[in-house]
């Protein structure tokens, strides 16, 4: 059958499949399909940079234009992964430079990127177009200067929440005068001041610029100058949004905002002076995305703005918005899909801010399209969770953080098992869940039974015994990422579900009860897994085998153990000198 089906036709058909999952499925059908896919797949996604290595990648895919790599586990965002753990991009860049001179796009998340790597990217790829660095670190503005100076066809330079050694703002001036292809620039995480005139000239000569996210040092008074040069902007992030109120500045700013007919997304607003907020009134109804999470101003100011955003789909805001503001959201933003509420002061116990579970319930009632929630609050009840689950059966992502660990239902003082149980039972499309509050093994029983589409689960300070972990590992068929901290889960459930770990991307457990011995056993018995014990204690070599490790990170890999690990990372159960080359 396959011999009568011309390869060119197959290739043409496959070219319509862009999702990585579909492509992976296709490549499993038969040898011909595998070969066709590998020759024409040019967008590659590697969810864990240690699951594979550059050589295996290059051998399989001869023609790659776009690559996305992820390094450290998610809990690295909260300082749980010690510095020096790994995730270095340099070895990848070296091989990619050699194999794919026409590579156009690199997207990295939680990787260590050095200036050397950036310089190599800048010099190795003639047609380089897109550089997106998310939560990366290890580079300085010198590396950015190299990119600016050499990448003549660059379209996207997007630094999302990176830790950059900011030597000066001079890097921006390295974009040559002949450089006009910029479409997206996000420098919000940088600290140094760039030359404003260089920035203005860059914006003026970039007719395709759609996204511009400034850093804090660009003052409010200069925004109109920039926006006048780029009325075509779709996504704009202001710098520090504070200044003494002056009517001329105000009206000038209001005027340029009104001229931005394509503006759909706004962010920035650091240190906001409330008097300047209404300049965006005229664009509010255009907005589909609004990020006010740096706007440290009170509820009435925030509420006035959101009440005009009738087409808003994504709202990111501080808890300053309070329940009253969220009530307004539920009445005004009928198209809302995603809500994120961050805590203004995560550590102080008693806070005046009136943000409770009522705000979230209100939004769930009024916004029928809501599918993604990240909510920080100080109290929660089972009845609220049940209500939310009934109001939003289409939830795909539910992340709730009750700031006090192990906080019970504040009304009944019971665990929040039934509330979260209701979420997983009613929201059949749930793919991501983060839980908090007082939770027993029961909630994991519900999750294992009902959360059949769950892809990622985050657990903290929850559960009573190994049974909890066992329910999850044995019940959640689609689970790929599991991260756990401070839970009484130990060896039994882990070892009993060892084979499940090979069907997942990764498992993180810190401050749990998994012993050295179990890690060694797992590492020895499962060649397809790297079992990394991350333990910084000085006396770690004299700790007995039955004692718990500080942290363990387990992930599947076809690349064998890695050799770039620091001394506080031990890859358990593998012969140090052996190289597993499973191709």
């Amino acid at each position: 059958m396959t011999s009568s089906f011309p390869e060119e036709v197959l290739e043409h058909v496959l070219s319509f499949l862009t999702s990585q999952t579909d492509r992976n499925a296709v490549s499993l059908v038969c040898k011909t399909w595998y070969e066709t896919d590998r020759w024409c797949r040019n967008r590659i996604f590697v969810g864990n940079c240690y699951a594979v290595n550059p050589r295996i990648l290059i051998r399989r895919f001869p023609d790659v234009k776009s690559i996305e790599l992820k390094g450290k586990p998610h809990f690295a965002d909260f300082n749980l992964v010690p510095e020096g753990w790994g995730g270095y991009v340099y070895p990848w860049v070296v091989e990619l430079a050699r194999a794919y001179p026409s590579l156009e796009e690199i997207r990295l998340k939680r990787m260590v990127v050095t200036d050397e790597s950036l310089e190599m990217v800048a010099k190795s790829f003639n047609n380089f177009k897109v550089l997106v660095l998310s939560s990366c670190e290890g580079f300085s503005t010198d590396g950015l200067a190299a990119i600016a100076a050499n990448c003549r066809n660059l379209r996207v330079l997007d630094l999302r929440e990176c830790e950059v050694e900011d030597l000066s703002g001079h890097w921006l001036s390295h974009f040559p005068d002949s450089f006009t292809s910029l479409e997206s620039l996000n420098m919000a995480c940088l600290v140094s001041e760039v030359s404003f005139s260089a920035l203005e000239r860059l914006v003026a000569r970039s007719p395709n610029l759609k996204t511009l996210k400034l850093n804090r040092t660009v003052p409010l008074e200069k925004l109109s100058t920039l926006l006048k040069r780029a009325p075509q902007l779709v996504d704009f992030g202001t710098g520090a949004y504070s200044a003494e109120f002056r009517p001329d500045v105000y009206s000038s700013l209001a005027g340029v905002f009104s001229a931005c007919k394509n503006l759909k997304s706004l962010s920035g607003f650091w240190d906001v002076t409330p008097a300047y907020l209404p300049v965006i009134n005229n664009v509010c109804s255009q907005l589909t995305s609004l990020n006010l999470s740096y706007a440290t101003t009170q509820s009435p100011d925030l509420t006035k703005i959101v009440s005009q955003c009738c087409n808003l789909q994504r709202l990111v805001v501080l808890d300053y918005i309070e329940d009253t503001g969220l009530n307004t959201v539920s009445l005004s933003c009928k198209d809302l899909r995603e809500l994120v509420v961050f805590p203004s002061d995560p550590f102080i116990g008693d806070v005046d801010v009136q943000l409770t579970e009522h705000g979230l319930v209100a939004v769930s009632e009024g916004c029928s399209k809501l599918h993604s929630i990240l909510y920080f609050c100080r109290q929660m009840s089972n009845s609220a969770l049940i209500q939310i689950s009934k109001n939003c059966p289409n939830l795909t992502c539910f992340r709730l953080c009750i700031i006090e660990p192990r906080a019970p239902d504040y009304q009944t003082l019971e665990p929040l098992d039934t509330g979260f149980g209701s979420i997983v039972q009613n929201c059949q499309h749930l793919t991501r869940l983060s839980m908090s509050g007082l939770l027993t093994d029961r909630v994991f029983e519900y999750i294992g039974t009902y959360a059949k589409n769950l892809d990622m689960l985050s657990i903290a300070f929850a559960g009573d015994s190994d049974l909890g972990l066992h329910y999850v590992l044995s019940g959640c068929d689609r689970l790929r990422k599991l991260e756990i901290r401070d839970c009484p889960f130990g060896d039994k459930a882990l070892l009993a579900n060892a084979s499940k770990l090979e069907r997942m991307r990764s498992l993180w457990m810190s401050s749990c009860l998994v012993s050295f011995g179990a890690c060694k056993l797992l590492g020895r018995k499962m060649p397809g897994l790297n079992v990394e014990v991350i333990d910084e204690r000085e006396n770690v070599n004299s700790i007995p085998e039955y004692a718990p490790v500080e942290k363990v990170y387990i992930y599947r890999t076809v690349s064998g153990q890695r050799f770039d690990a620091p001394d506080f990372v031990r890859i358990m159960g593998k012969d140090k000198d052996a190289v597993y080359n499973l191709s």
Binding site: F75, D77, F78, N79, L80, T114, G138, E161, E165, C189, D271, S293, Y294, T296, P343, S344, D345, P346, F347, G349, F376, C401, I403, P405, R406, S434, E445, G448, T449, S458, A460, D466, L467, H470, Y471, S474, R485, D486, P488, G490, D491, K492, A493, L495, A496, A498, S511, L513, S515, G517, A518, L521, K525, E536, R537, E545, Y546, A547, P548, E550
Partner: protein
């Protein structure tokens, strides 16, 4: 629910593929050994909790609940978000810190340090030793580098590299532009020998 109960029982029974492949026993032992649990506190917690609970009590199988003080990585908010309000408060009263770059010979990348966080050379040394996990000795004519492998030097406003410790602390922090932790054998030129 029956299915769940069955799953529960299976976990703790002799299930063929479980017991032949993976057992809890240490190599060479036949039975399952008693798993001793320890309290969850590790000596990496934030300092406020360390004083009372840093010793591991092996007979305790319950958990000390997390302290009301800050727990590492909780709540799960990225570092730059935690500082939003703090930056506002800080800028209004104390003024910005004195940040200098710190390099250590052999380390792949540099760190940044706020000299205003310290009030003496001893505190600075301790801070650096914690950050770089090394032993640094203050130089003295008599004892050399005190047996340690590293020496601390700084670049002053005129661009000269100086040995740390000669001038009063206040003068030091006003002239120090960057710090370098050198191997003490290389610091010989600054007047010392091992």
């Amino acid at each position: 629910m029956d299915q769940i109960k069955r799953n529960t029982l299976n976990l703790f029974e002799d299930n063929d593929h479980l017991t032949t492949e993976l057992r809890l026993g240490l190599p060479g032992s036949d039975d399952q050994p008693e798993i001793k649990t320890t309290s969850l506190s590790s000596n990496k917690r934030s300092s406020s909790e360390m004083g009372s609970s840093s010793c591991m009590d092996e007979n305790e199988s319950t958990f000390s609940p997390p302290a009301k003080e800050q727990i590492v990585g909780w709540p799960p908010v990225r570092s730059y978000r935690k500082n939003i309000l703090q930056v506002k408060k800080m800028e209004s009263d104390t003024g910005s810190g004195i940040y200098v770059k710190v390099s250590m010979d052999g380390a792949p990348y540099l760190r940044k340090l706020d000299l205003k966080m310290y009030t003496s050379y001893e505190e600075l040394m301790k801070g650096l030793q914690d950050m770089f996990k090394c032993l640094i000795g203050l130089y003295s004519e008599r004892e050399g580098y005190n047996g340690s492998h590293h020496a601390l030097t700084y670049e002053d406003k005129e661009g000269d590299w100086m040995l740390v410790g000669d001038v009063p602390w206040e003068m030091f922090i006003s002239t120090c532009k960057r710090l370098r932790i050198m191997k003490s054998c290389e610091a010989r030129g600054l007047g010392g020998s091992l």
